[in-house]
């Protein structure tokens, strides 16, 4: 992981990028576009959760709090203060990051994984109940609707771009831009000295301490960054669907889906969360008729993957075609 790119991996990345860019030219079917937008939103969320859980080794189970805070924060700001969603998107991320720093501070004092799991789950529950209870602002369990869409603009050479439920292609490209941006941030971070120290820290804290890195500050920074990215994903989700309920964005079911995606793809790998998001989202859509079995399936997947394929799908390739040792 994070070795210098080989020619093969460069070609793979370029191929995937071209395919993603060209997909709307092949088909602009609104349903396919919609599924792909969801894949990318979940891809961002999954990658950010993987950043703390897989790379930094902080096993948290409450990242849906940040998704919900980003979604509700951005939606409420744009609805009540009439700020453009283009700006509230980032404000939503900042709100989530602030919450991330707030809850990250006590977590980092604890080494016990069980405590971290409990606190993060409890925090997410607090966020959910607060959103449900402050119904004068959030409309409670009824949820928000009529959340403003992104304003259209004119792109040189391409003409006017509009964002409306009827035209999913512009949402597709916007989510692709966001996905690439967030992945870029994660890759830069992981290839930096900080990122290397972080991997060292995951594999044994003494090693990182000898590198002269302030562990606590670094973990807190990574936790905040991860919360920020998840918050952005949540904010985009809010303006994309323009409907929110506490259960849909701060429910434990959402977190379970993300955990299933990352575990299926491969925890602690770069492509794993993306592969997982793609595979599971498409699989779920393909089996719409079995909607009532969806969460049952996610649960079973988590148990089976953890027991029989603990490193996820992306390591299957290496297992089937082992690379020659250098």
């Amino acid at each position: 992981m994070f070795k210098p790119y080989t020619l093969q991996s460069r070609l793979c990345i370029a191929g995937a990028l071209v395919l993603m860019l060209a997909l709307p030219l092949i088909t602009s079917d609104p349903y396919i576009m919609h599924v792909m937008v969801l894949v990318m939103i979940f891809g961002i969320f999954a990658s950010a959760w993987n950043l703390v859980t897989g790379f930094a080794g902080l096993k948290t189970f409450g990242h849906h709090a940040f998704f919900g805070l980003g979604a509700y924060g951005s939606a409420l700001l744009s609805m009540n203060l009439a700020i453009s969603p283009w700006i509230t998107l980032w404000l939503g991320g900042l709100i989530a990051a602030g919450a991330g720093f707030f809850i990250g501070t006590p977590i980092l004092r604890i080494r016990s994984m069980a405590h971290v799991a409990i606190v993060t789950l409890g925090f997410a529950e607090i966020v959910r109940i607060c959103i449900a209870n402050f119904s004068s602002v959030t409309r409670g369990e009824m949820g928000l609707w009529g959340i403003p869409q992104f304003e259209g603009f004119t792109l040189p050479f391409a003409g006017p771009i509009t964002f409306s439920p009827a035209d999913k292609v512009s949402f597709y490209y916007l989510s692709l831009v966001l996905l690439l941006l967030m992945l870029g941030v994660i890759v830069c971070l992981m290839r930096s000295k900080t990122g290397l120290a972080m991997l060292a820290m995951r594999d044994g804290e003494d090693a990182a301490e000898s590198l002269g890195v302030n562990l606590t500050r670094m973990k807190l920074m990574v936790f905040g960054l991860s919360a920020f990215i998840v918050g952005i994903a949540g904010a985009f989700y809010a303006h994309y669907l323009s409907i929110l309920t506490p259960a849909s964005v701060v429910g434990l079911d959402l977190m379970i889906s993300i955990i299933a995606m990352v575990l299926v793809g491969g925890l602690g790998t770069f492509t794993g969360p993306l592969v997982g998001a793609l595979v599971l989202t498409v699989l779920i859509e393909a089996m719409r008729d079995l909607e009532s079995y969806r969460m049952l399936g996610y649960g079973l997947l988590i148990v089976l993957i953890v027991m029989y394929l603990p490193k996820g799908l992306v390591t299957l390739r290496e297992r089937c075609f082992p690379r020659p040792q250098e």
Binding site: P106, H115, G299
Partner: protein, 289 residues
């Protein structure tokens, strides 16, 4: 607010707290012995409630038969779950995370299986005892008094079990030093299985006692699990006596907190308390560092 109502609320808090104690002590027992955080504990509670409901309402068994039977089924189910999942994971290198993830997955499986099999309906069981106990101005339904008495009896039974029986000794020895326990001849894996079963039984008993008051539904497990977590954090994760004390304390704190605010803030009060405790005393309120 007059004194009688205030005292009544405190007593109600203690009664609720005794149930928190049963739920939390199951989580503490498993964590203390195996270092496994069981995220499926809430679903074992939920299933215990369903077992009670079916045995009492569908099959018409009297509570003094249906409740022990439901608890016994939960005990067996807990052991089966441990045997099928945790036993394989706990020997692996990254067991701390994989056991959390697996029990989380399991919790979703059980919850949704219950939804598919039992449906969305909220089920209740008739009161096991009728009438209201009155002492001066304080009035408590006998059902609530029964809950408290049963909880105290079971807590007493478990304390005795841990302190004086062969099984209890093997549980405490395994909790303190797994290798040393094996060396003196304790079959550690069997102890793990029994602990998981006992925790499930404690959860199921709480569900059975609460079934007449709190409706049983497929979703009943999640809030119970989270409340159980608050209890074990307050009591010091893995401490059985800590969980008992913390459960009772939490019940009273919530009762007072709800008096001062309103009932929809009950959970926020307890989760905030939990985060504050993790901040200041991560090893719990009672124990030493």
């Amino acid at each position: 607010m007059n004194l009688a109502i205030f005292l009544e609320q405190i007593l109600n808090g203690l009664i609720t707290g005794s149930m928190y104690a049963l739920i939390g002590s199951g989580i503490a027992l498993v964590y203390g012995t195996m270092k496994v955080l069981n995220l499926a504990h809430g679903e074992l509670y939920m299933l215990g409630g369903y077992f009670t409901f079916f045995l009492t309402v569908q099959f018409g068994l009297p509570p003094y038969i249906s409740i022990p039977l439901a608890v016994a089924i939960a005990f067996a189910l807990g052991m089966l779950i441990e045997k099928l999942t945790i036993e394989y994971l706990i020997v692996r290198e990254n067991w701390a995370f994989t056991t959390i993830a697996a029990t989380l997955g399991l919790s979703i499986v059980l919850q949704n299986a219950a939804l598919l099999i039992f449906g969305e309906r909220f089920n209740t069981v008739p009161y096991y005892v009728q009438g209201v106990m009155a002492i001066g101005d304080i009035r408590l339904p006998w059902q609530r008094v029964l809950i408290f008495v049963v909880a105290l009896a079971v807590i007493g039974l478990f304390t005795w079990l841990l302190k004086y029986t062969r099984l209890g000794w093997s549980i405490r020895a395994t909790a303190q030093d797994r290798d040393a326990a094996q060396v003196v001849g304790i079959p550690v894996r069997r102890v793990y299985m029994i602990c998981f079963g006992l925790a499930a039984a404690l959860g199921a008993l709480a569900a059975a006692m609460l079934a007449p008051i709190n409706a049983i539904s497929p979703w009943a497990g999640i809030p119970v699990l989270l409340k159980g977590f608050v209890v074990v954090v307050l009591g010091g994760l893995g401490s059985f006596p800590g969980a008992i004390a913390a459960g009772l304390l939490l019940g009273v704190v919530e009762a007072i907190g709800v008096q001062l605010t309103s009932s929809e803030w009950r959970d926020v009060i307890s989760f905030t308390l939990m985060i504050a405790v993790i901040w200041w005393r991560p090893w719990g309120l009672f124990g030493k560092k």
